[in-house]
Subunit: 210 residues, 2 copies
Amino acid sequence: MDVAIPLYDRFTALDAVGPYEVLSRLPGTTVHFIAAEPGPFRTETGMLSLNADLPLREMPEPDVVVVPGGLGNRALLEDEVLLAWLRHAHEHTDWTTSVCTGSLLLAAAGILDGLEATTHWLAMDKLGELGAKPVDRRVVEQGKVITGAGVSAGIDMALTLVDRIAGPEVSQAIQLGIEYDPEPPYDSGSVAKATPEIVAFLRENVAILG
Amino acid sequence: MDVAIPLYDRFTALDAVGPYEVLSRLPGTTVHFIAAEPGPFRTETGMLSLNADLPLREMPEPDVVVVPGGLGNRALLEDEVLLAWLRHAHEHTDWTTSVCTGSLLLAAAGILDGLEATTHWLAMDKLGELGAKPVDRRVVEQGKVITGAGVSAGIDMALTLVDRIAGPEVSQAIQLGIEYDPEPPYDSGSVAKATPEIVAFLRENVAILG
């Protein structure tokens, strides 16, 4: 099974690497990092670059697509090279998925028209403007389309995807392999759980969100 | 504040990118990916490469060190270039940290002698052989040394580190920024929670663990 993760300038690294870390452990699966042109792509912080090994045109029909989010994708919402690739790929995929604001690209390609979907909590309005029905869940499944919430939700999305592809034992084995037994020092990972002051701070300081 | 994350061949991507995603959002902080020589470094699966931008020698005294794990580090346990860099850096750091089997490198450098520390659950014995006192906790603090358990524990380790550096509000804000409100489909992320069959399967198939 071939999984394609498209990169672009100013993406969010964990959006891509969380699902990679899960899906690369699924037996018989190869994860490919691809882009309009191969080469290094910097994250939105500028502090890290990952390499795309293949051009989009060399992998037109992967079995699974995982679109990561990142502030840089606002510039791609009318990019016909990427959107046309997404549309064609989606016609042939077993699963079409996104993490964080990666769903904005799926929506811009028309793939989420009328479907429930999620994204980073700060991008919900934008997702609705692009034709999806935004819902406040961490992982949203609509047939073969699965969207994940912000950044770290890609891990949960990918473990869910593995469950659907290969069953509970494999999903559980990979969860144990990456020792995903979360224990953050605080319970502040959603708008419902964080203090109003912290939610307001992030709304005013979008640069910290990615 | 300068954070240095050393890369090497056959590291585990999420070990490095989880802490990067957290620490890069800490105001006033720059995360640097460094290596013996700059260039691309492939993960243990061979499916992804990240770039080191600086050689170790150009960043001898970062404020924070985060050592990622990966199957490739067994070949470095007697690598004097990396171990000497770790020893010197540790003399000057505010915080010296690791994720997963990154603690084996800290231990090989003598930094964990007699200290409690953690690692991936499958590497606990090896950590003890190298002079640390292995303990089964997700994040282990010993003065300025913080070690995290397997792979995904780097996120929890880094949020803990942010709390110690900048306080609870900043840790909580970053947690909300990356929407770290975990919801895996199963509760199988530790040896205590997984079924005996899955634990046994992973012990026999180390390639899936990273």
